[in-house]
Amino acid sequence: MAHAVEPEYTTTGLNHRKLLMWVFLGSDCLFFGALIATYMVYRGQSLTGPYPIDIINVPVTTISTFVLLMSSFAMVQALAATHADNKRAIVGWLVATAVLGSIFIGFQIVEFNTFKNEGLTLGGNLFGATFFTLTGFHGAHVTLGIIWLVAMAIVANKGRVGPNSALDIELLGLYWHFVDIVWIVIFTLLYLIAGFDAGPAAVPGG
């Protein structure tokens, strides 16, 4: 990636790319915010089941949440290894992050399939539409992150990642942690709180 960098002059003393990444993450907050808002607005609006309480599995998703949190830990270790110029550790921790991220995606895929088999589809009701769209785009963000991690691991394995290029790992880390904190919000709202939303008790009109 970046070649040997002489520190360039910047007005604030901050790196251009780091500033770019933070502004981009601020922008991505609006993206997920709009998707979450759609979910919250349509909470309780589905005309037919399945409703969240019928299929949301909080224990299993709690496990996948742990996995993602641990991947953030691994990511932080990858950055520390970069500063320490420890090539094997860099590659190891990057791969660990990617593996944990992939396990999370695995959980998501299994969950999507289970829900589909239990009758929750994109077009079936609003819960399906909003749930799959929101978690689907989050999953897409995670997947892009995994691809980035694998690419960086390959580059690191060639010995081209070190303290001079720590910024590249740091930027990847910022993106990865962002994806993690978005999941914290999704987990709390969609699973812990709204996961117990039920449909109506009786047929309308009697």
Binding site: P7, T11, T12, G13, L14, L19, W22, V23, L25, G26, S27, C29, L30, F32, G33, A34, I36, A37, M40, V41, G44, Q45, S46, L47, T48, G49, P50, Y51, D54, V58, P59, T62, T65, L69, M70, F73, M75, V76, Q77, A80, A166, E170, G173, H177, D180, I181, I184, V185, F187, T188, L192, I193, G195, F196, G199, P200, A201, A202, V203, P204
Partner: protein, 264 residues
Amino acid sequence: MAHEIEHTTNHPSFKQYVLIAIILFAITIVEFLLIWGRAGIVDYLGASKIPLLVGLSTVKFAIVIMYYMHLKFDHRLFGTVFIGGLALAFLVGIALLGLFVGFGGGQRTYAEDRAIPYTEHEEHEAAETTTPATGETETPAATGPLAISISAVGETLAFDTDSITADSGSEVTITFNNPSANNQHNLVIVQEGMKDAVAADGTAAGPANNWVPPGDARVIANTILLDPETSGEVTFTAPASGTYQFVCTFPGHNFTMFGNFIVN
């Protein structure tokens, strides 16, 4: 002037990172216990579980941002741009929610009035197939069968006749031709004066039901929804003598696409 600051600012040590990971882990466990039925806590909490869960998650959120994303040790500007976006997303989201859920907008009652309870998947499928939405066929009555041909007019929202007639008890077959290149139409026989009310309920019933409310007593018979440049027919027994109406219940068409069905 300001050259890039060398990355010598504080980093938490390995042990501190592990501690942070354990804290995140622990908070998640607490959140889980708060809602897990078998732990029994949730029964005491009631609605207060929501602020508790939100609070705990906010703490996790803040810890990841401050330590993993290093914002605590970094230049303020990064935090400003990110928190700016985050705060905006939060405020706009709350405003949207408020506009939908509160302020007397009446947005929620539609679903509340019409939502059906969830049944297991297979039962649901079985229930659906027993309600046909297409026209009904009945055994021919005493008097001879009658064939009526009716058509929409080009691209306009109108039938080519405003009156059709039949004898009570006779078998009537209406062939409806839709010559339009753009519009879908149907033909629905309804009780007198009911065309607009049935059309309104038809809109609610949706295209899957051919824009006709299923099992509605005001509907004598109806064709399915016809695509552009197709024809369809419906056969039924003419009801007791009197005046009825025929109408197209595609949303919005009922205002101009209707006529009288006179049964002698």
